[in-house]
Amino acid sequence: MRRYIVQRLLSALMVLVGVSILVFLVLHLTPGDPVQIMLGPTAKPGDIDRLRAEFGLDDPLPVQYLRWVSRALQGDLGRSIQLNRPVLPELMGRFQATLILATAAAVISFSLGLVLGVVSAVNHNRLIDRLVAGFAMLAVSMPAFWIGMIGIVLFAVNLRWLPASGMYPPQGEPSWGKLFIHLLMPATTLALVPMAVIARFTRSQMLEVLGQEFVLTARAKGVPKSRVIFDHAFGNTLVALITLLGLEAGILLAGAVYVETVFAWPGIGSLMVEAILKRDFPIVQGGVLVIATSYVLINLVTDLIHAAVDPRIRVA
């Protein structure tokens, strides 16, 4: 087990190094001299050269990369061109909002997805199974931003039950209650597709497990059907689904971009969209790095959880 953890940590580290190289190169391979852009078309050649040397842009690429990484490790990701503020604190504030949204959506989609999937499998081919299947079909085939807009029109504009946008009301003290009310619609919108996917996979996985001989063995021992589902089938289903759940967690993070735009959620996604439109490269670069790092971490945690709950991996 310890060896597995070390191996897994090393490979995560390597992926991170790869990601950082990519992010670094993309910036340096994009056409256009950043100094030229900064100083504008009227800059004198002497000034350009002086500034290039000052920024270290004449050094070989590996040297530049190492300097950038060591700064990044110290929390210095440069300054936003648009906001003229350090990138990292800006990103972190926004990332926190995204994390809140994605976590809420994960709670909704994982719990409901698993419950609906188990209920479908246990009531295989009965009415409730068909209803869940129909609902899942619907959820997957409708774009999230469209559902979000319908939600705004219905619950915010017509019924006035829920706020249409933002994380807190413009005025007044922030509170958990206010956050919850603002979170409800975006989180549900974001959760819909992963919930449907998880429900479908849970159903088929559960059916497969229920068809395995050890389930019959348990029944033959006199374990009641409901207990067999909880004590034997659900655990095996969940273990088989861990990888999918990890992937869905990553998808929630990525999907947050659309939902944040629709609901004006102050997350990293909407920040990135603004930054791209305004060519604010340090923000884009830092944002990609933060998102990629969180992907790698989700992956790592997924694998470690898998190893912790599945004895077959633990020993290997």
Partner: protein, 328 residues
């Protein structure tokens, strides 16, 4: 006079719905098992042996449409599901063919053995662990105290089948159903597991219903044999008698077609033809199309299970002359 059977199956019929229509896997099956004996069930693949076993425990995915399963005087088909659950694993236990798949990969084997003990005997987890150790010792698994903490993948196939047997006998059942318990194991392990089953029977006086393809195993281990064909028991009787003097043409064919059954020096002769496809409706004897002794009436008249004396029964019209009485 024979003692009362602990299991008395009469006219059992089990159907499956399949794409091709209704498949009657068990088709009017009669079977008796007496206390403490080992009864072998043999028959070609698809003859309904497993379907019968699962029907007795009411765990078949198919539908039991007719018949009686009398166990210690009660018809199991009349019991509620809750009453069946109290019986399963306690009075009737079942062990399966493949020890690789019949254990839960995520549960320690001690907990899996202890499960029946906790449900049926109300033992605590701790007590169940203690009993699990004793059970593992009784099936000769070395290092039992340590083994109860292992997961199934840490055991070999033979060791797992020992665990499965320990699980089966944990509540000292009156009847142990074993569906091809050695088919998935290699030959040297097979003999050990079979010895273990017969040893278990002697110690616990449980009756054993042993489903197998291997007539050699039957000859060695079983007090009586039931031969199944197309969802029916076509012949049953004491093992030595039945092997020495088979009465049903199918049994004769079966014995000639396997190395254990034929006389020394005789060549192996497979039974010509195919078993009926399940779902085919036969009016007469289901074996008639393949029978080397077939007569005209066999195609129209369904034979009853005839009592031939000496505890022997056969389902064949040609044996009517030697029958004492026929069961309805």
């Amino acid at each position: 006079m024979q003692p009362e059977p602990i299991l008395r199956v009469r006219g059992l019929k089990t159907e499956f719905q399949s794409a091709a229509g209704v498949v009657r896997a068990v088709d009017g099956l009669d079977l008796d098992i007496f206390p403490g004996e080992i009864v072998g069930v043999v028959g070609e693949s698809g003859s309904g042996k497993s379907a019968m076993a699962f029907s007795i425990l009411r765990l078949t995915p198919g539908k039991i449409v007719a018949g009686e399963v009398q166990f210690r005087g009660r018809n199991l088909l009349d019991l509620s599901e809750a009453e069946m659950e109290r019986l399963r694993g306690d009075r009737i236990a079942m062990i399966f063919q493949d020890p690789m798949t019949s254990l839960n990969p995520l549960m320690r084997i001690g907990s899996q053995i202890g499960e029946a003990l906790r449900y049926h005997m109300g033992l605590s987890r701790r007590q169940a662990d203690g009993t699990a150790v004793q059970l593992l010792q009784s099936v000769h698994l070395p290092d039992a105290e340590r083994r109860i903490h292992d997961y199934p993948h840490q055991l070999s196939g033979g060791q797992r089948q020992r665990v499965v047997i320990a699980m089966g006998i944990s509540c000292a059942p009156d009847l142990l159903i074993a569906d091809e318990p050695t088919t998935a194991l290699d030959v040297t392990i097979q003999a050990q597991i079979l010895n273990l089953i017969s040893e278990t029977r002697q110690r616990s006086s449980a009756a054993v219903l042993l489903i197998t393809h291997d007539l050699g195993v039957v000859a060695q281990l079983c007090d009586r044999v039931a031969v199944m064909y197309a969802g029916q028991v076509v012949e049953q009787g004491p093992t030595t008698d039945l092997f020495a003097n088979p009465q049903h043409p199918y049994t004769i064919g079966l014995l000639r077609s396997t190395p254990h059954g034929r006389r020394r020096g005789e060549p192996l002769r497979p039974i010509p033809g195919q078993p009926p496809r399940p779902g085919d409706i036969a009016t007469g004897c289901s074996f008639a199309p393949r029978c080397h002794l077939v007569e005209e009436r066999c195609h129209h008249q369904a034979p009853a299970l005839l009592q031939l004396g000496g505890g022997r029964q056969a389902r064949c019209l040609l044996r009517e002359e030697s029958a004492h009485e026929s069961t309805p």
